[in-house]
């Protein structure tokens, strides 16, 4: 495989609702930020790929008008996935593997605030036997959380500890939407939101955008002192029906982590895309992370969860920690679909 690295990452601050800007206006600072960090323009980019979905803001072909934000003129090599930006990054990584191009720009964005997000997401479910019941995302996650409690592996205290630790970590993240320092016991004292989940167990609703620049080999080395090399990347999917899965484990994450080579070396840091606190526990187990791994130092999705983007941000957060030398090897995870249906795992590493 060709050596491909993340050389730049920018995100907009996670916000509950970006009411002043349309999508392209919200997105442009992320694109300009990522290009500016490495003194590049779109003319220096070989391939562009984005991730978004029309359902969040309710506008069809949303990606068509946001493409204006990169200035695709003269015409560019470009693609779009109706997926989280982490999968756009995967497509870009594949494209660079072909050896013709050396750089790629990946961006994703979402405005979740215009609609009723937990209800909008019910449109992902089986359109005949499930979606007409309008089971919101929080309720489905709560079913998974109850199953995890019933398994005897974790307790509500464990959930609360994840919730509290994430928000405390987020105090160091200027882009976080939710950040506070309170003990887990405070979380446990909250009333149930959808039992057994409390509000603090759930990610906030977030508008936001992010952009990552990839470069191959020497191009990456020429642009930054310490590129974050992608050593492995893989993604897997499971059936959507919750009844067909063991909700207390994440088999697709396990396979992806194995294929991405997580176990091939020590992991310093992991950014896990867990929109609900109990999901972090399931994912840690599936990826095979030890107690010593620094998990979600950014605060994770519980501190800011722009749909279609939170997965890409996980990759960027790990890359930043490798590039600034605070970590040498890290794991980033992205998820999609109800109760962790589809998962991507990537392993990043600094140059040894």
């Amino acid at each position: 495989m060709r050596d491909i690295a993340i050389i730049s990452f920018a995100q907009t601050p996670a916000q509950r609702a970006v009411k002043e800007q349309n999508e392209v206006e919200m997105l442009m600072p992320a694109i300009h930020g990522a290009l500016g960090q490495v003194d590049m323009t779109i003319d220096d980019i070989g391939f562009t790929c984005s991730g978004s979905t029309d359902y969040l803001a309710g506008v069809g072909f949303s990606f068509v008008s946001t493409l204006d934000g990169v200035g695709p003129w003269p015409p560019i090599q470009e693609s779009h996935v109706e997926m989280d930006g982490a999968w756009a990054l995967y497509e870009a990584w594949v494209k660079l593997q072909l050896g013709e191009l050396d750089t790629a720009l990946v961006y994703s964005y979402a405005k979740s605030s215009p609609g009723d997000l937990p209800m909008v997401l019910t449109r992902q479910l089986d359109p005949i036997t499930v979606a007409p019941l309008w089971p919101d995302t929080v309720s489905l996650a709560a079913l998974q959380a109850r199953a995890l409690l019933d398994s005897g592996r974790y307790t509500e205290e464990h959930f609360a500890e994840v919730a509290a630790r994430s928000r405390k970590s987020a105090l160091d993240n200027p882009n976080a939407q939710l950040a506070w320092d309170r003990p887990a016991s405070d979380v446990l004292a909250e009333e149930y939101h959808v039992a057994p989940l409390r509000k603090s167990d759930c990610a906030p609703i977030t508008d936001g955008a992010a952009c990552i620049i990839l470069a191959a080999g020497d191009v990456a080395r020429s642009k930054v002192e310490r590129p974050a090399w992608i050593r492995g990347i893989d993604h897997r999917v499971e059936p959507i029906h919750l009844g067909l899965r063991d909700l207390t484990v994440s088999e697709s994450t396990r396979i992806a982590a194995e294929k991405a080579g997580v176990a091939d070396g020590a992991v310093d840091v992991a950014e896990i895309h867990a929109p609900f606190s109990h999901q972090e526990l399931i994912l840690r187990d599936a990826i095979g992370l030890g107690e010593d791994v620094d998990v979600n130092p950014s605060g994770g999705a519980l501190s800011g969860n722009p749909m279609m983007t939170a997965g890409l941000i996980r990759v960027g957060e790990v890359a930043n920690r490798i590039s600034n030398g605070t970590a040498n090897r890290g794991v980033a995870h992205a998820t999609s679909g109800p109760c962790l249906q589809q998962n991507l795992v990537t392993v990043l590493e600094g140059e040894n």
């Binding site: 970006v18 009411k19 002043e20 800007q21 349309n22 999508e23 392209v24 206006e25 442009m28 694109i31 300009h32 323009t41 779109i42 003319d43 359902y55 803001a57 309710g58 506008v59 008008s65 493409l67 204006d68 934000g69 990169v70 200035g71 695709p72 003129w73 003269p74 015409p75 405005k111 605030s113 215009p114 609609g115 009723d116 209800m119 909008v120 449109r123 359109p127 005949i128 979606a131 007409p132």
Partner: protein, 204 residues
């Protein structure tokens, strides 16, 4: 072909369901954004105010938030004329969802004087089969009381009496004819196009 299904006894002699209605409604709050809101505010004052990214770059009407050549915001406002030239058009004979127009009607691409991209709008006050490329037209506004922040506040465009513009062209059409082809032995390259960021290229 779908495979043969074996049904439990209880369902073998009843009429099978073949289709199902699953109506769905989602409610959103749509945000126009900064550029559009500024533009539409001008419309409420019966002004057509385009935007551009730099003093040299193209003037966009209506602005959508980004100059798509530069990938940049368009903070500079430029009021453009309320007269322009028809660059192309189409006579519509088919009703569609959301349509309020009586059939047939003519929708046209109109390049307003001072703008660099045509807007699509209606042509009225002339028989539909007399609309021409190159025709000069002017905006007809709704009554003041009915002006709202939408391009529909311009009811339509109508001929303004000026002679046709014989040199009308679609913005950008010189690129097409400048492309050349393999038949002529010249493959097109990016170099034929001026790069708006660097100013390079663009020889025909």
């Amino acid at each position: 072909m779908p495979p043969e299904i074996s049904l439990p006894a209880s369902l073998q002699d009843v009429e099978q369901v073949r289709s199902v209605r699953t109506p769905a409604r989602l409610d959103y709050e749509f945000t126009a954004g900064e550029a559009s809101s500024r533009f539409l505010k001008g419309i409420t004052q019966k002004k057509i105010i385009g935007q551009r990214a730099t003093p040299e770059s193209r003037v966009y009407v209506p602005p959508r938030g980004a100059d798509p050549e530069l990938g940049a915001t368009t903070p500079i406002e430029v009021e453009v004329a309320q007269v322009g030239t028809v660059t192309s058009f189409c006579m519509v004979n088919v009703a569609f969802y959301g349509s309020v127009m009586e059939l047939p009607y003519t929708s046209a691409l109109i390049l307003l004087d001072g703008a660099d991209l045509s807007i699509m709008h209606l042509i009225q006050e002339i028989p539909a089969d007399e609309v021409r490329i190159g025709m000069r037209v002017e905006a007809v506004w709704r009554d003041d009381a009915d002006i709202e922040p939408t391009l529909e506040s311009i009811k339509w465009f109508r001929p303004n009496g000026e002679p046709d513009d014989p040199n009308v062209r679609i913005p950008g059409e010189d690129h097409g004819t400048g492309l050349g082809s393999w038949v002529g032995g010249v493959a097109p390259t990016e170099a034929l196009i001026r790069n708006p960021r660097t100013g390079e290229g663009g020889q025909a």
